[in-house]
């Protein structure tokens, strides 16, 4: 039994079958990659996992509970954190504040009127955030205005914001999309680093084969909204169906 | 022009010895020695002129301010003396008030009761004004009157036509020279009956706020007493600029008279729209359709252009009056500014003279003494014939003018002609008349 179990999920947009009978199981402490060509339904599937879309049929169980019908913030509170294609951070806030927010979110839940507490007095939270920042080598940038940082630093910060929540599942939505090769490699290193330091379950939606094969323990190949095959990277590499459907002749 | 401005306080304080003197807690800002708020102790006395300087009534406010400046000039012995020469009381000498030079401060009411009170308060608290006067709407007049009552200064209302000002909202410290909605109705109705007959069906459009309501009530009562029927009374929002949607329904009724209980910009627009829709060309029940504007403002009527021609209404005063007082006022105002004064200017000028005269007669600036001098006072020579300041409600009783938009104006000021001067007796009413009932004067408040 995986921590995330997707069973028989269908989603139609008008006449378009975006997801057709998707089954997926993500095991704890693995990196599970979901790959597929453009339009394969990767993003639709992700949106069904985080509560942005509701599947027409099927079930999505996370940690033994259904996520269907829950709002994105509720699903996050269940233990799923998400990294976006382009880093989504709080640009008007400092780096430290950016990391403090998820700390508070974990401690206080979706809403709390902590209007008369003082951030400066939250030693425990600050320590937790600082440890996290040190972990991603950003401690010296804690007072920086996060919008003014480089894209690589923003990505690092976003990871830190997700990791500090100690998620049971970290979803990564094409974390290297649009990046130059060097940046992609940096991101891969960062993820490897993260993975090496802790037990973590990740689901990566990715287009870039290089990234996938560097990180994933298991890979699901999606084509036209349906999973073609699920296997280890080694087996996927040589799988004829995958070569045909996804990698084409270029591979 | 080179007159330096000394406030009461300035004269007082520049002579004061250096050192700290702590006064007792007082109401507003009277010094411990004085018997009433802002008692003038120096060589001058400060009056507060609170008029709309911004907003839609700014031009009317500007005209009021001109009248006040003229009045101050006359009180201080400048100019030709204006109506001081024709005023039945001869207490004013042209040497200021009680020998003190008259100074003034001005404020902007913005035609909002809040802003008007703020500016009146500032004149009382900061500039030491002993009397507040002015305003161009009833809401403001009632609000400022209430303030002056609490502060312990006299309020001489400017242009305010609502029955409430000297009705349910009357105050012991407040006085109104201007006429009111009841008087408009009482003066206008007989003329209307004479001109248009006793068998008329009236349709009212009324500005949806207190002044509009009191006027509607007054006109309905006065016309119905003469046999007219009221087909409908429709309230229109204050902010309305296009009245077409309120005028077209009239076409579906058998009403043959439209009464516009609007003032200012509302009046200009509703009248313009009514004429546009050809109401005046209509024949209903075999009668010519007519429009009536019970309260006329010449300044605003200009905005309606040719549409005012032949339209009946009432007014407090008009520059074409031939009595000596009016002529003297028109002459000094016209000579100074180049155009004739409005009714707002007239009432403000008269109110200032009446206040000054009352102080002279009372021999004191104490509001209670002044109020006593004004109460029940009979005077003449200020443009409206023999006039009586009634003690019971502080309302002036005088002749009321019924006017009509002139067919062939000779100049841009010559818009109205006086049709009838309705004698005072005809517009009088008992102080406890139902339209005025509900409030009480209270007692005079000197502040200290």
């Amino acid at each position: 039994m995986g921590i995330l179990e997707v069973k028989g999920v269908n989603k139609r947009f008008g006449g378009l079958q975006a997801l057709g009978d998707v089954n997926l199981s993500v095991q704890e402490n693995t990196v599970h990659a979901i790959i597929g060509p453009n339009g394969a339904g990767k993003s639709t599937l992700l949106n069904c996992l985080v509560g942005k879309l509701i599947p027409d049929t099927g079930s999505v169980m996370f940690d033994g509970q259904s996520v269907l019908g829950r709002k994105p913030h509720e699903i996050n509170q269940m233990g799923i954190s998400r990294v976006f294609q382009t880093p989504e951070i709080f640009g008007d806030l400092t780096v430290l504040e950016n990391v403090l927010i998820p700390c508070f979110a974990r401690r206080d839940g979706a809403f709390r009127m902590h209007a008369f507490e003082t951030v400066a007095n939250e030693a425990e939270m600050i320590e937790k955030a600082m440890t996290m920042l040190e972990d991603v080598n950003m401690a010296d940038k804690r007072h920086m205005h996060s919008a003014s940082m480089s894209r690589g630093d923003k990505r690092r910060l976003e990871m830190a914001m997700c990791l500090v929540q100690e998620p049971k599942l970290l979803l990564l939505d094409e974390p290297t999309a649009g990046m130059a090769r060097a940046d992609t490699n940096n991101t891969i290193d960062l993820l490897k680093e993260i993975k090496a330091k802790r037990d973590i379950t990740m689901a990566i939606i990715e287009h870039d084969m290089h990234v996938v094969f560097s990180l994933a323990d298991r890979i699901t190949v999606l084509a036209q909204g349906t999973p073609l095959v699920e296997d280890t990277p080694e087996n996927i590499k040589g799988h004829p169906k995958v070569r045909e459907a996804y990698l084409g002749e270029s591979a | 022009m080179s007159n330096s401005k000394f406030t009461r306080r300035g004269v007082l304080k520049t002579g004061a010895v250096t050192g700290a003197g702590l006064a007792l807690p007082t109401i507003f800002t009277a010094s411990s020695a004085s018997a009433f708020t802002n008692e003038p102790t120096g060589a001058s006395v400060t009056l507060g002129f609170n008029v709309p300087q911004t907003g839609p009534y700014a031009d009317e406010g500007a005209d009021e301010l001109r009248a006040y400046e003229l009045a101050v000039e006359h009180l201080n012995g400048g100019g030709d003396g204006g109506m001081m020469n024709t005023f039945s009381s001869k207490a004013l000498q042209g040497n200021g008030i009680l020998g003190k030079k008259v100074e003034y401060v001005t404020g902007d009411t913005q035609t909002k009761s809040d802003a008007a009170r703020a500016s009146a308060k500032s004149m009382i608290e900061k500039d030491g004004a002993i009397m507040i006067t002015g305003g161009s709407s009833s809401g403001v007049a009632v609000a400022v009157q209430g303030l002056c009552q609490e502060a312990g200064v006299i309020f001489m209302a400017g242009l305010t036509h609502s029955n409430d000002t000297t009705g349910k909202d009357k105050k012991a410290n407040g006085f109104r020279h201007f006429f009111n909605a009841y008087m408009s109705g009482a003066a206008l109705a007989p003329v209307l009956a004479k001109m248009y007959g006793n068998d008329r069906k009236a349709y009212h459009l009324t500005a949806d706020y207190t002044w509009g309501w009191t006027q509607e009530e007054s006109i309905v009562a006065a016309t119905e007493a003469l046999g007219w029927t009221t087909v409908n009374t429709v309230k229109t929002p204050l902010a309305q600029t296009d009245f077409s949607a309120y005028i077209t329904p009239i076409l579906q009724t058998d009403a043959d008279v439209l009464v516009l209980n609007h003032y200012g910009g509302n009046m200009v627009n509703s009248l313009t729209n009514a004429v546009q829709f050809g109401l005046r060309d209509r024949i209903v029940n075999g009668k010519q359709f007519e429009i009536v504007v019970p309260l006329y403002s010449r300044l605003m009527a200009r905005g309606a252009g040719e549409n005012v021609k032949g339209i009946f209404g009432s007014t407090n005063w008009h520059w074409s009056l031939q009595d000596a007082g009016s002529q003297a006022f028109v002459k000094s105002f016209g000579t100074k500014y180049g155009f004739p004064p409005s009714q707002a200017a007239h009432t403000c000028y008269v109110q200032t003279l009446l206040y000054a005269d009352a102080v002279e007669r009372a021999g004191s600036f104490n509001p209670c003494a002044v109020a006593e001098a004004l109460e029940g006072y009979d005077f003449d020579g200020l443009g409206n014939g023999p006039t009586h300041y009634r003690a019971a409600d502080h309302q002036c009783f005088k002749d009321v003018l019924v006017v009509r938009g002139k067919e062939n104006p000779t100049s841009e000021f010559d818009l109205l002609e006086v049709v009838e001067v309705t004698p005072r007796a005809q517009v009088e009413y008992a102080p406890d008349h139902p339209m005025f009932a509900g409030g009480s004067l209270g007692t005079c408040n000197p502040g200290a």
């Binding site: 989504e88 927010i101 | 004269v11 001005t106 609490e150 007692t443």
Partner: protein, 405 residues
Amino acid sequence: MLGLDKKDWTLLLIVAVLALAAPFILNPFPAGSELAQFNAGYPDLMQRFAIFGIFAIGFNILFGLTGYLSFGHAAFLGVGSYSAVWMFKLLSMNVVPAILLSMVVAALFSLLIGFVSLRRSGIYFSILTLAFAQMSFNLAYSVLTPITNGETGLQLTLDDPRILGASATADGSIPVTNLFGLEMRSTFELEIGAWLFQFNAGYYLCAVIMLLAFYAAMRIFRSPFGIMLRAVKSNQQRMTYTGLNPRPYTLAAFVISGMYAGLAGGLMASMDPLAGAERMQWTASGEVVLMTILGGAGTLLGPVLGAGFIKYFENIFSKINDNVLHGWFSFLPDGLEDLLVSIVHPFVGKGWHLTLGILFMLVVIFLPGGLIEGGQRIVRLFRKKKAPRGEDADHHPKETPHVAE
């Protein structure tokens, strides 16, 4: 101490000193001098500074932190005033119950409007709040006259059925508002040489409440809640995917700022027991927006400065008439005097709107961060002069300005 760091304490202390010494500071010119026209140290205006300061501080909690631009906040000030006056009419002339009720009513009203309006964001939210406020104003002016007394404004009368206290005083006037017996309008006057200073009980009540309001706002700015509100402004998407629900945060901010507005309204009625409908008009809502942006949205002190700036112009510049102008320039030869008067004339007295409009434009064009930024620039200028070539903040990586600045 009290949850503030040293920097905040300094700021609070400065504001406190300024507020308590306002009667001195705002009256720098001797009474009777030509410049006395610019004195603002009289009770009514000082009260207004404090009251509109509270209003703007509250508005800034919503707009400055969450970025939600409400065009209807005057409605909360209005209902606050109405409830306070009704309290005076029906219960007691003591200001405490009146102010409390005005905050409660404003809170309920803002909860209702906020709940509906916050279903949309951006300009759609702004127009929803505007629509609610304009409806309130239009109805208060006309059909709700039995409750609001329409055009004139709700005021006290001699026959109010007051439960605690008499309808009228022994000498037949309307009782005055008080704080457990201390009359709000009572004023101490202090003469020092040519100067006259007025210490008004009402003003000090307003000032103390403003300090409390300022302190509360400071705490909110520094709290985790405050960070959440800034997160709403910065990135709502990230917020939801961090497990936070932005809606209750914004609604809480909306209600808090509504309560600030209600408090301001209640205080206004306590200083002067009249509640006019114009208080609810969109122009009044626009005014607090202008105050906040003019002073510096998102800063603690900015809104207070902006409020003072606008109220100063409204009350001081509008009173400068030609007579005063002639007084100022009377030392000049007549021709020059008249020339100067005619040059200045369009900008003062009835032209004060023009001056205000020009100043708005100048401030927005040259000081994008509002008056606060102007102040910061001046401070920076002095610092640079003091320490030429020295270590300068500009050489460090850009840090976020502390919100208090």
